[in-house]
């Protein structure tokens, strides 16, 4: 049986798949291409870096841009100015109008710098970008980013690449409760159940990279993440039973 779900709308873009997948750190570009396929993702993230002189091979040889929407990130930026610069360059390739805005605070934690993230969001929104903004799981910061015009707010489950899953479900719940734009849990996902938990909480989607790319079998893990995302979404839409302290029998009382 097929269940109809509404599409995920981010700015003027619409998606069926709620799993966004990164393209970094795979054992090979071929495995990446197979993993993207297995994940069912429609949106894939990329980073912006110097092109190599006299080298024609490109990541984009392995990504069918008719099938996948490219979401460039501003990874590696530690100030609003740097991130805005990278976003402008990314847009100028003509391959994407969306930007995954990431302004980091320091290299050890890779946690976002909330002040510069907000600053960069304001600038990029004014310049017409569809901004998907990476942030911590702080509900107040998330609200401020939404108010600044972000098309999507993406709180971290836990630090980037840490595989710790969703450390503070309550914060994610608070963010979800007041959000008027889609919330996508981004970063920290280690395994399939982490994706399911994010989706069961009511997130509109999950974005991950390392959890797939560094798994022993990235292609199989990509499929696991796809199923986990769909499971979590279905469970969320179905409305789970409340948790109870004591048991409640499933069978009628014995009457003979």
């Amino acid at each position: 049986m097929e269940f109809v779900d509404k599409k995920l709308k981010i700015g003027k873009f619409e998606f069926t798949s709620r799993l966004f997948v990164g393209t970094g750190k795979y054992p090979s570009p071929d495995i990446m291409a197979q993993a993207l396929d297995a994940s069912g993702a429609e949106v894939v993230t990329v980073a912006v870096r110097r092109a190599k002189i006299n080298e024609s091979e490109s990541l984009l040889d392995y990504i069918d841009t008719k099938r996948y929407v490219i979401l460039p990130n501003t990874a590696g930026c530690y100030s609003a100015d740097e991130a805005v610069r990278v976003a402008r360059l990314a847009r100028e390739t003509g391959l994407s109008e969306m930007i995954k805005l990431e302004v980091l605070g320091d290299e050890r934690t890779l946690l976002p710098d909330p002040v510069d993230t907000l600053k960069a969001t304001t600038v990029l929104v004014k310049e017409g970008f569809t901004v998907l903004v990476y942030t911590s799981d702080d509900p107040i910061v998330a609200k401020r980013l939404e108010d600044a015009g972000a098309a999507c707010v993406m709180p971290a489950g836990s630090p980037i690449g840490s595989g710790q899953g969703i450390l503070n479900r309550n914060n994610i719940r608070m963010i979800l409760e007041s959000a008027k734009v889609p919330i996508i849990v981004d970063a920290g996902v280690g395994t399939a159940s982490d994706v399911t938990i994010a989706m069961e909480l009511g997130s509109e989607g999950v974005l991950l990279n390392t959890g797939i790319a560094h798994a022993k079998d990235p292609v199989r893990m990509a499929k696991a993440m796809k199923l986990a995302c769909e499971s979590g979404r279905l469970a969320y839409l179905s409305g789970r039973i409340p948790k109870r302290l004591y048991a409640k029998a499933s069978s009628p009382e014995k009457d003979f």
Partner: protein
């Protein structure tokens, strides 16, 4: 004349346009973006924007990332 291209010093013909420069160094113009002296240059201007001596160019593309 001498320019700085992606951090490397390069000799290139005087009066070269950005378009020609991208060709010279085998960049794919449909997969790159260009910054000239810290200003992003829209692709439609590449055919007539001239690169001058001591100019600093950055040519970027997409690589794997999360």
């Amino acid at each position: 004349m001498r320019i700085t291209l992606n951090g490397e010093t390069k000799e290139c013909p005087t009066g070269i346009t950005i378009d020609k420069l991208l060709e010279l160094y085998n960049f794919d113009k449909y997969r790159t973006a260009v910054e000239l002296n810290s200003h992003v240059i829209p692709r439609k201007e590449h055919s007539y924007q001239i690169v001058k001596d001591t100019d600093v160019l950055e040519v970027v593309t997409f690589v794997g990332g999360g």
